[in-house]
Symmetry: C2
Subunit: 445 residues, 2 copies
């Protein structure tokens, strides 16, 4: 009997916990699920006889650490800054550990300790990061093995809404943490490589420079993610002239969102108080220079942001130009207030299906010929709980846990991300059963 | 014999140290000056027999703390985050402490301890904050005592260049920390009150909304500082409909600076590497969307930022459109590279005189009449060492030290800022001898 410990029972853990329990009997696993919200953990195990739920006390890590030491493997789904302390306890107890998050400096610092203890801490093994690494590295290695030289790499991923559930002009509903959507891209400038030139886009212009991406006949747009330049080294793309990783949204989203950014409605750095009963138009005046006071609210927003009619229509759909509607809470940062509005406007209804889209384009030269390979994934969710997001974040981790618990592991120790064959050869074929099938095209250009 | 301890011997300490030494004989003071750069401390005391210089080891605070305990008063001119630890040692040793900086939360937390020990820790007693509080509170109290009701308060201050030393189209040279000028306003949104309405300006539009201010027939422009709303409480302006504090620059500065902000040249959050020998036009392409690649560099900057010809001329004066000039260092954040350029372009030459301008406007009603009082200061520096900046930052602190060491203090203990009569009645008249003379006008409007 092995103990699989899952810390964190939030939205992204649904598939992970469910599928761990589905396998529990056959595998001989106990599945232990802890969350600061004990009831949430309880609800996720649905009374399964192999499941145990418990509450995590954020101020007392003693029980958490005891659970880690009693486990055979830990999957950490808690907020990212807590991964390293958890991993350290796991390493010292000789237990492998899996996280879906980028390797932060404090996690990277545990590499030596993990090697010393012969333990693997596998990070970045969700969707993005995760499936992006697995699928991109597989193609990159294939092209290189054929003798090709990579000249460009562009990679975009988005958690979106399936067409049949797409009922709003933003083409968006929340399938993950709404806060991260509201403050997306605002933490720092985006840097990438574009035709041999390093480019930097400051957060306040990030959504202005969206580019079109077509996947399976559907039109999307992508904006660059923070530090694409790091992938020169991470993916070994030293000779690529173009290197950009980014996020996908539905067509038209970026321009309308840019108007929020331009006004400052996504700022999270100033708490303000508005009068009770304030309307959205009055709230918006907070961000508009006094010179626009003579214009109606829609015209004032247009004048200050340059937003098109189509973008303004998206604002209108949210009720932002309606004098009879307004924020419920009247105190907080602009991001808090905007999030509250969007959480009710972009709710994923129980029968809604979300959709994951991932798109890689590899430019390369092979025997003097310029070629392009496109590898693309579209995956729809099952419902609003077992979303494509939850499936694609959870399944790579669960499949990795299976390999570690039942098949002797990947032959690796240390603090790792799944960047090579040892991982993708094992995980990608198993992910196919979950609909993670990339369509590839390859042509001379 | 009393020991006056000055920690930090940077640019802003010149007048403070010099004038402390001038008084040392008459007052019976030893003046001890410590800096991480021991040579700088040595240079500032100029071999004065009452002066002692020493090096501060940033990794070993033992000597610093011993010096604090052996002193009779401490003036902390070190980086602001170090004030609270210094103040705590001073409080426990029963020694008063003076800083020129805003009261940060860790400093505010020492208030109880300071009261317990009967010690005054006086902060915000330089120029801005400092002379701004003293001069504004004096007028606010006067108006209130006359029975007036304050309806608006606007206050701007700038460290600029005297007209006879103003030799560049930016009307700016560095009289204080260049880094703070380059990243000015970028740390967070500005909030203020404008005709009864709370307004927020995000950093990326901060210099777009500059307003004109005229002082003594000279034209300036001001942009809002971070949190003016806090002054409702700090200055007791609960009924004011307009409340804004800001920074002054020369006419035309803000529009040209806004173009740097718009492009992202002031970002300090992404380290980039450029090729050795890169020109300024090529460097600027980093920030320009690819769609402008077909335009010459001046036109591309104009198209992306909307900058006027006059603003572009200011860029041209810096050499930014010149293919034969470029950054010396090729690695760093955009702010690093821009700072390097400006430090050579905006240098305060030995004979140059800087200039401090402070301007308050008080709107009030008195016996049913709407009135306006304007209180304005213009002060020129003596040379590039004994700048108006150094005088106006240093002298309020030195005069406060005199009161504390020789005259029994201000009758106050705790962690304070000089917000009331106890301070301004004593300090303002003495500052007049240093040229800190506010001109007042008052009229019905």
């Amino acid at each position: 009997m092995k103990n699989l410990l899952i810390l964190g029972a939030g939205r992204s853990s649904s598939t992970l916990i469910k599928e761990a329990l589905v396998r529990a009997e056959a595998m001989g696993w106990n599945v232990l699920v802890g969350d600061v919200n004990g009831d949430l953990a309880q609800a996720k195990i649905e009374g399964h006889p192999r499941g145990t739920a418990f509450a995590l006390d954020p101020h007392d890590t003693e029980e958490r650490d005891r659970r880690i030491r009693e486990s055979d493997l830990v999957i950490s789904m808690v907020p990212a800054f807590l991964h390293a302390p958890i991993a350290e306890v796991a390493i010292r107890a000789g237990k492998p550990c899996i996280t879906p998050s980028y390797i932060a400096p404090d996690m990277a610092a545990l590499d030596g300790l993990a090697r010393e203890h012969g333990v693997l801490v596998l990070n970045e093994v969700g969707l993005d990061p995760g499936i992006d690494h697995l699928s991109a590295m597989k193609v990159l290695d294939e092209i290189r093995e054929q003798g090709g030289e990579i000249t460009s790499f562009e990679s975009f991923c988005g958690g979106l809404i399936a067409p049949e559930s797409d009922t709003n002009p933003w083409h968006y509903k929340f399938s993950w943490n709404p806060r991260n959507v509201v403050i997306a891209g605002q933490a720092g400038a985006a840097t990438f490589l574009d035709g041999g030139r390093v480019r930097m886009v400051p957060p306040h212009r990030l959504f202005q420079q969206a580019r079109s991406v077509e996947v399976g006949g559907m039109a999307f747009e992508g904006y660059p993610n923070r530090d694409s330049l790091a992938y020169r080294e991470r993916y070994g793309l030293t000779n690529a002239q173009t290197l950009v990783r980014g996020t996908l949204r539905g067509a038209g989203f970026c321009e309308a969102w840019q108007a929020f950014v331009t006004l400052g409605c996504v700022r999270d750095d100033a708490r303000l108080t508005w009068q009770q009963g304030v309307s959205w138009p009055v709230w918006l005046r907070t961000f508009l220079p006094a010179e626009y006071a003579g214009l109606g609210i829609r015209d004032a927003v247009a004048a200050c942001t340059g937003a098109s009619e189509s973008a303004l229509d998206k604002w209108a759909w949210l009720g932002l130009f309606d004098d009879s509607q307004g924020p419920k809470t009247t105190e907080g940062t602009p991001a808090d207030v905007l999030q509250e509005l969007l959480e009710s406007a972009w709710v994923l209804e129980p029968e809604d299906r979300d959709m994951i889209v991932m798109w890689h384009r590899f430019g390369y030269t092979l025997r003097g010929e310029n070629r392009e390979r496109i590898s693309a994934l579209r995956l729809d969710g099952r419902d609003s709980t077992f979303t494509a997001m939850s499936d694609t974040v959870g399944m790579p981790m669960l499949l990795a846990a299976e390999v570690l618990l039942e098949e002797g592991g990947f032959g690796r120790t240390g603090v790792e991300a799944p960047m090579d064959r040892a991982y993708y050869d094992v995980l990608l074929p198993r992910l196919e059963a979950w609909g993670v099938r990339f369509e590839e095209t390859d042509r001379a250009v």
